[in-house]
Structures are given as C-alpha cells and as structure tokens.
C-alpha cells in the first residue's frame, strides 16, 4: 500500500516541502526537492530520521561556565533526549580546543559530541 507523507526538508534553510510516497517503508517517489540532498533526506527520514544535536556542556575553570557542543552527524531522533541528558552530566576542563571530542560515541550512536568553539581558561 502506498502512503504519502509531507514534511519539510531540513537539509538547508530553503526548507523545500517534500511530498514523499513510500510503500512498506521503501521510497517510491519524491517531489518538491530542489537539490539532490532533498531526495536523500526523504529516504533517511523514512528509514532512520536523524537530527544534529547542539547544546552546551558545563566547563570547569573556563572563561565561560559553558561551552557549545554539537554532534558530528545526525543523532537518531529517538535518542536525542538521552543525548541531551548525557551532555548535561559531563563537565569539561578548560582550555578547550574547537573540535575536541567531548563525548565519543554518545549513547552508543557512533556519533561524537565535539566542542563548537575554543575556550580559554578563566582570566
């Protein structure tokens, strides 16, 4: 049985409205995308919806009390709350270098959480 879904592609700020037909979880047709990323997004959104996580991690001895962090890739949607909780439990010592791994393989997702900025020690 073919089902039709509509959702916004979030690959970029354009936000194409995708109309997606799937049958038994297999992508049948996509329309509405304006670049190849749209089709790829439709496929993954059906099979394995993921979101990039971005938040902050507590810092000790830093110029700021928190440091922004992000996931280096999409986290399975269902795991996001666990990831937020995991990030909230970590304290990183300054100095921090942009890109440094804060949590490797967060919640078993295979995705690392890395620092989004460099942060010096408390002046």
């Amino acid at each position: 049985m073919t089902r039709t879904h509509t959702f916004l592609c979030v690959s970029c700020p354009v936000g194409c409205s995708l109309t997606v037909e799937e049958e038994e979880g297999v992508l049948v047709a996509v329309s509405g995308e304006s670049c190849p990323r749209g089709r790829r997004y439709a496929e993954t959104e059906l099979k394995d919806p993921r979101r990039t996580f971005a938040g902050t991690v507590a810092v000790s001895g830093g110029a700021l009390p928190v440091c922004p962090v992000r996931s280096r890739g999409g986290i399975p949607k269902g795991l996001l709350a666990d990831v937020a909780r995991a990030v909230s439990q970590v304290v990183v010592e300054a100095p921090i270098v942009i890109g440094q791994v804060v949590i490797a393989d967060v919640c078993g997702s295979g995705i690392d959480i890395t620092a989004s900025r460099s942060l010096g020690g408390r002046p």
């Binding site: 959702f7 916004l8 592609c9 979030v10 970029c12 700020p13 354009v14 936000g15 409205s17 304006s34 979101r51 990039t52 996580f53 971005a54 938040g55 902050t56 507590a58 110029a63 700021l64 009390p65 928190v66 922004p68 992000r70 949607k77 937020a84 909230s88 942009i98 989004s116 900025r117 460099s118």
Partner: protein, 418 residues
C-alpha cells in the same frame, strides 16, 4: 587623547566585521583594525550555537561559533588586527571613532575609511505596547539565548514565545533541550516569521503548538511572571472576542523584531533609510558619507550569515579601495525602488560603475511560482515561492545598467505571481 591612525577601521567583529577586515586586507590596506566591545570575537554568532550556518560559503552546516572560527582564522592569517573589550562610544562627522578600553583608556581612532558592522538590537516589550505586570521572566529571545548559551543560566521553566522569527523558533528548541517546557509560539501574522526549516525542526519535531494570528495581550505576576493572556486577532490586529485564554507560564520570550543599531551612524550624520532603519547605501556599501561604509545586519536584517559575510568582504574591500583613492566613483545613478510586493530592500541606490545585487524581503508569502525581477528587463528569475523570512536577490550587471535609456533614473524590484 592619543590618536590611532589606521587605513580601515571596522566597528564590530561579528560575521560582517570580521569579513570586512579580510576584504580590506586582501584589497591591499595596510592597517586594518576591527573594534569589538565584547571580550571575544564573533558577535552575535557566539551565542548562536545551533547548526545552519555556512552552507553556501563552506558547503557544510556549521554552528555559529564554528562558522566564525573559520572567518576569524582567515582574518588572523590575512593580518587583520583586532581590539576586544573596546567600545566605540562616539563617531564624528569625519568617520573618526572614539573608543574605550580598560587597558588603553580612551583613544581617537582616525581611519581613512570606516566599515560599520554593529548589527542589531532586539525590539523590547515597550515598543509593541505589551501591557500587564512587570514581573521577572520577560526577556527578548536573544537575551535569553545569551543567558543559556554563554552564562549557563536558565531564564525559566515554562515558556511562552511571542513572535516566530528565527530567534524565537531556535529558542523554543533550545529551552526544550535544557529541560524547560515550551507551551507554545504565538505569532500575530498569518505566516511564520522565520525559516520553514526552523518551524519543522524547532516546533514540529517537539509538537510545540504554533498559533498564527495570535497575540499575547498581557502579562500577569507582580514579582515573577505567572501567566499571559493570549487571544486570536483579526485583520486589524484586534483581539477576537471570546478567544482570550490564560496561559500559565513563568517565562515570556519576545522575538518581535530586530532593529539595526545605528546610534553611531546617526552621531556621524550618516543618512538612515526609514524603511530598513539602516544607512542608505549603494552597491559598494558606501553610505551618504563617502568614507563610511556599512555591512550586514546594521544595513538591513539578513536571513543568512553567508550573505552577511559576503557583504562584509565587499564593504571591506571597497573601504580599502576608497582609502587608497582607488574606488571608482561617478557614473550614472539609479534609485532603487521596491514594488508592491516588496517590504525592505538594500542597496537603495546604485551606479553603473559595477555589478549590483539588490536584496529584498517580500511583504507577504507567495506560495506559488513567481518571478523575482527588476524592471527594464534587467533581471528575471522564476522561483517556486517567495517568503518574508527569506531574502530574494536581483542581480544587475554593470554592462546592462550602462546600456539603459538615458531617461531611466530609477529601477524597481518586485515579485509577481506567474
């Protein structure tokens, strides 16, 4: 007062200012000094920790700090000088700047050319005539973002958001990720103010109710906010009887508009456009004072940081050329006008001395095939939609401008359904 002579001075080290520094150095300016009031570089993007920046420039989705990191590294490599903890508190008619810094005290920076890149401030509650009590817990969304993302402090636990501009949508998600509840987003217009992608990722993903054509009428709670009264509004923005509803909450975030921060520009006598709230500029980003240039949100509120950096680069480059006496001037002048569907646009005038891109925002969404065009056949492009939250671009070539009929003195940009 000690004088600091430089070739190009830039006010603000956000995406426009840092790029302007690079543009100026790459165009040959020797002494390029960027003045930043915060203790660190990056401007507002320091606190925009969500991904979505740099797709056009770097073909990657970066967070605000990551985006700025790349530009800042490039600026250091290009020999741009930065002065942080340095507030520019006054600008004279000639574009010279009075600065304050805890170590160096007051200095008089005397540049050959200036690039203004101060960005915006947020519209406060008083400007939208919000009524009710004045308890703690009412914030503009950007201030709340600073508290959460840089101070590690939570403004509240149960949030109502007024306004669906990007900052409001982004903060809805952010507050959820820090454990708060977001009761809903209320927007007076019949459409979202921010990018569709943010509606999807910040509201739909979390099932946060999005109420279009609704207003927050008043706030309750003398010491700390306890709730707000919301209602549906009609086309005249008046509350519809019977739709008033009390919403318990302890936090109200206001995302009701950004205002270009042009206090310095006004001090120096730079002409300000009443529509954009920013300096009147041409395609070289030159203001009404030839030695003063401007770029980024201080000119017009942009949607994409990539556009802001690009514009910063161009402004820096042109400022450097001006400082060296090499900026082409003269040429035929055309006033830019916005058609019926256009709300804001920049630049406001151009010459045929160079190519020009006019950025503008439409006054309402066009959810259909439409053409974005300039008259006199100068440009036309078909798009699948046009939305107020996303800027449109009209590209004009110098050659086409030069071949226009002598009687043409103004060009109109507009959008029409196809």
């Amino acid at each position: 007062m000690p004088e600091v002579p430089v070739d190009v001075a830039i006010v603000g080290a956000g995406p426009a200012g840092v790029a302007a520094g690079i543009g100026a150095r790459e165009a040959g300016a020797k002494e390029v000094l960027v003045l930043e009031r915060d203790w660190d570089l990056g401007g507002i993007l320091q606190q925009c920790i969500h991904p979505g920046f740099g797709l056009r420039t770097f073909k990657e989705e970066l967070t605000g700090p990551e985006f700025m990191h790349r530009w800042i590294e490039r600026a250091h490599g290009a020999g741009v000088r930065f002065s942080t903890n340095t507030m520019v508190f006054s600008m004279d008619d000639d574009g010279s700047l009075w600065t304050m810094n805890p170590h160096r005290g007051i200095e008089h920076v005397v540049p050959k050319a200036v690039v203004l890149a101060m960005g915006c401030r947020e519209r406060p509650a008083g400007a939208i005539k919000l009524t009710g009590t004045r308890g703690a817990g009412i914030y503009t969304a950007g201030t709340a973002q600073r508290f959460v993302n840089m101070e590690g402090l939570l403004p509240g636990k149960r949030v109502v958001i007024l306004g669906s501009g990007d900052i409001g949508l982004i903060m809805a998600r952010r507050m959820i990720w820090e454990g708060a509840e977001v009761e809903g987003v209320y927007e007076i217009m019949p459409w979202a103010g921010g990018l569709r992608r943010n509606v999807a990722q910040c509201l739909d993903d979390f099932h946060i109710p999005f109420h279009l054509e609704h207003a927050v009428l008043s706030t309750h709670g003398r010491d700390r906010l306890e709730g707000v009264t919301v209602a549906k509004i009609d086309a005249q923005r008046r509350p519809v009887e019977g739709t008033e509803r009390y919403v318990p909450c302890d936090t109200l975030l206001l995302a009701v508009g950004l205002i270009p921060e042009n206090e310095l520009s006004r001090m120096a006598g730079v002409a300000i456009h009443p529509g954009t709230g920013g300096p009147v500029v041409n395609q070289f980003l030159q203001t009404s004072k030839p030695q003063i240039f401007a770029a980024g949100n201080v000119v017009i509120v942009y949607d994409l940081a990539d556009n802001v950096s690009d514009e910063g680069m161009r402004a820096g480059r042109n400022a450097a050329l001006y400082a060296a006496g090499d900026l082409p001037c003269g040429g035929r002048r055309f006033e830019i006008k916005g058609g019926k569907a256009v709300r804001l646009f920049s630049p406001q005038w151009i010459t045929d001395g160079g190519d020009a891109t006019v950025f503008f925002r439409v006054v309402r969404p066009f959810e259909c095939r439409c053409k974005v065009f300039a008259d006199h056949g100068l440009f036309s492009q078909t798009h699948r939609y046009a939305r107020p939250g996303e800027m449109n671009e009209v590209h004009l070539s110098a050659r086409d401008l030069r071949s226009l009929d002598p009687g043409v003195t103004s060009l109109t940009v507009d959008v029409e359904e196809v």
